[in-house]
């Protein structure tokens, strides 16, 4: 940082004045404690004095220069505490200076962080020049994001019950009047929506199953259903590439022709050669799908930091982003420096970071996950919460845990005899904001399509 920028990013006088006012009028501390962090002070001595002031205030509510001096002397951090404190007495002007000086400190601190971020990105770009460009870009975005966040957002953290109940009441009235936005995000499966009353913003939803249960297909069905209502959706596909996803979406839509009963475009036909009629109908489907706002990131080996950076970028471009889906957890790459931690701990950290991401971006985030093999060794192969437990206590961080289970996968003859082929149990094993229980959908494997043809009977 040049001396000129250093000069413009620091106001020593304002730092002294704030401390002078707080020592003289400790009763003002309650009003500033949410707005001011030690980091707002550039001078390390003043930062320490601020910490001491807060500490003394929390302990006894009383502050004096003598007490501050005594504490500084005990901690032996500042070279000349008397001289430093004398400067504070000299700079004191009046209590009215407090608010403007705090604003100056906040502004200067923000400027310093920006300048530091610029330096860090510059160093990063030079030092990691040999690395993968997208990895460097992701790190740079992280740095910029951190530098542009307000150091203190605590003013919104504490809310009175009146404020909170006001919000609840408005939602209650909106629901009564049938306003759509009063609910969570509908995925247009009445059974699912009935259980969840819509996926809630900031929630992390774990969708887990053993392989071949149809979790990607189910997630894709929900993605398309949401996006068809012109709500932007972001899909991270760490396994399937963009074309595979596109084909699945298209194929999924062809099911409508089969449902109508007069026409059909099968998966095999789509993958080979279509007749004129089929081609014309396929074009119609393509034209409809062109409109829907789905963003696909199909890169393999993404780290959590890269996912976060990309999600933030998309959110900045599409502020009304309504849903994020990640397919799937076990394919997220661990960070380079794991510090010798176990895989289970790392998975736990990834899940926690993704939950924080959902909160930060204010969207529901559906995270697909595989289940461990212990399911297979049981007679009853319906997944249970304990099947997630070996993977970093995922369920602790999740707001909802949903399992998919298809009995016909394990007992095909029985399913054929009873006509329960394609029956999928959607098991709501955990819901912080709703009931647990099971609902059923039908899976039409050829079209990777889930349909809600059952009465909304919830077994709890």
């Amino acid at each position: 940082m040049s001396s000129m920028t250093k000069f413009s990013a620091v106001d020593r006088n304002a730092e002294q004045r704030v401390l002078g006012v707080l020592i003289k009028y400790p009763q003002r501390i309650d009003q500033v404690i949410d707005k001011l962090r030690p980091e707002h002070f550039h001078e390390s001595a003043y930062r320490k004095i601020y910490e001491v002031i807060i500490d003394l205030y929390n302990k006894s509510g009383r502050i004096s220069y003598t007490q501050v001096y005594n504490q500084l002397r005990k901690e032996n951090i500042i070279d000349d505490p008397t001289q430093t404190l004398m400067q504070l007495t000299e700079s004191f002007v009046g209590m009215s200076e407090l608010e403007p000086c705090i604003e100056i400190l906040r502004q200067k601190e923000g400027t310093r962080r920006l300048l530091d971020a610029v330096e860090s990105i510059k160093e990063l770009a030079i030092a990691d020049a040999e690395d993968n460009l997208s990895s460097v870009q992701a790190k740079a975005q992280e740095i910029i994001f951190a530098a542009t966040q307000n150091l203190v957002a605590a003013e919104q953290d504490a809310k009175s019950l009146l404020e909170v109940l006001n919000k609840c009441y408005i939602k209650l009235v909106e629901r009564r009047h049938g306003v759509d936005s009063a609910y969570g995000l509908s995925v247009r499966f009445p059974s699912i929506d009935g259980m969840t009353t819509g996926f809630k913003r900031k929630d992390l939803i774990i969708l887990a199953a053993r392989p071949s249960m149809g979790k990607t297909a189910f997630a894709m069905n929900m993605v398309v259903n949401v996006a068809k209502r012109n709500i932007p959706v972001l899909l991270f596909s760490l396994e399937m590439d963009d074309e595979q996803i596109g084909d699945r979406i298209v194929l999924n839509e062809f099911f409508r022709y089969k449902e109508q009963g007069d026409f059909e475009i099968t998966s095999t036909e789509y993958q080979t050669r279509l007749s004129d009629e089929q081609f014309s109908r396929a074009q119609k489907v393509f034209n409809e799908l062109y409109q829907i706002p789905i963003t696909i990131v199909d890169k393999r080996g993404l780290t959590c930091a890269e996912i976060r950076a990309k999600a933030r970028k998309i959110k900045a471009e599409k502020p009304d982003l309504g849903l994020i889906v990640i397919d799937y957890l076990q394919l997220i790459k661990a960070p380079m420096n794991t510090g010798g931690r176990s895989w289970s701990l790392i998975v736990g950290e990834i899940v926690r970071e993704l939950r924080d991401l959902a909160g930060e971006l204010d969207v529901p985030l559906i995270l697909l996950s595989q289940l461990n093999r212990s399911v297979e060794s049981r007679d009853n192969k319906r997944p249970m919460m304990s099947d997630l437990r070996d993977s970093g206590n995922i369920e602790e961080f999740a707001d909802a845990v949903i399992f998919l289970y298809r009995d016909d996968y394990y007992h095909p003859e029985e399913a054929e005899a009873t006509g329960t082929q394609g029956l999928v149990e959607i098991i709501f094993a955990k819901q912080r904001k709703g009931a647990t229980g099971t609902v059923k959908l039908r899976f039409v494997k050829e079209y990777t399509r889930f349909i809600d043809e059952f009465k909304n009977e919830v077994s709890r």
Partner: protein, 75 residues
């Protein structure tokens, strides 16, 4: 400068001198802690009592340090 700040400056100067006495081993750390306590609570103490206590703790140096002007303006 307001009276409060003026008084605090004098206290800090006095503390600084006392600290140098600690370094010269003229007074003990325990004495120094008591001096700080007295200064911190001086508003609640009788002036004569405060003077006597400070003289005792500083082994008489207090009188030499501030013989020209009273330590507490306005008193």
């Amino acid at each position: 400068m307001a009276l409060f700040e003026e008084l605090e400056r004098v206290k800090l100067q006095f503390i600084s001198v006392c600290e140098s006495l600690v370094h010269k081993e003229r007074i003990s750390e325990a004495d120094f802690d008591q001096i700080l306590q007295l200064l911190d609570n001086m508003d609640e103490l009788d002036e004569n009592h405060l003077h006597d206590e400070l003289s005792r703790l500083t082994k008489g140096s207090f009188d030499l340090l501030f013989w020209e002007k009273p330590i507490f303006p306005g008193k």
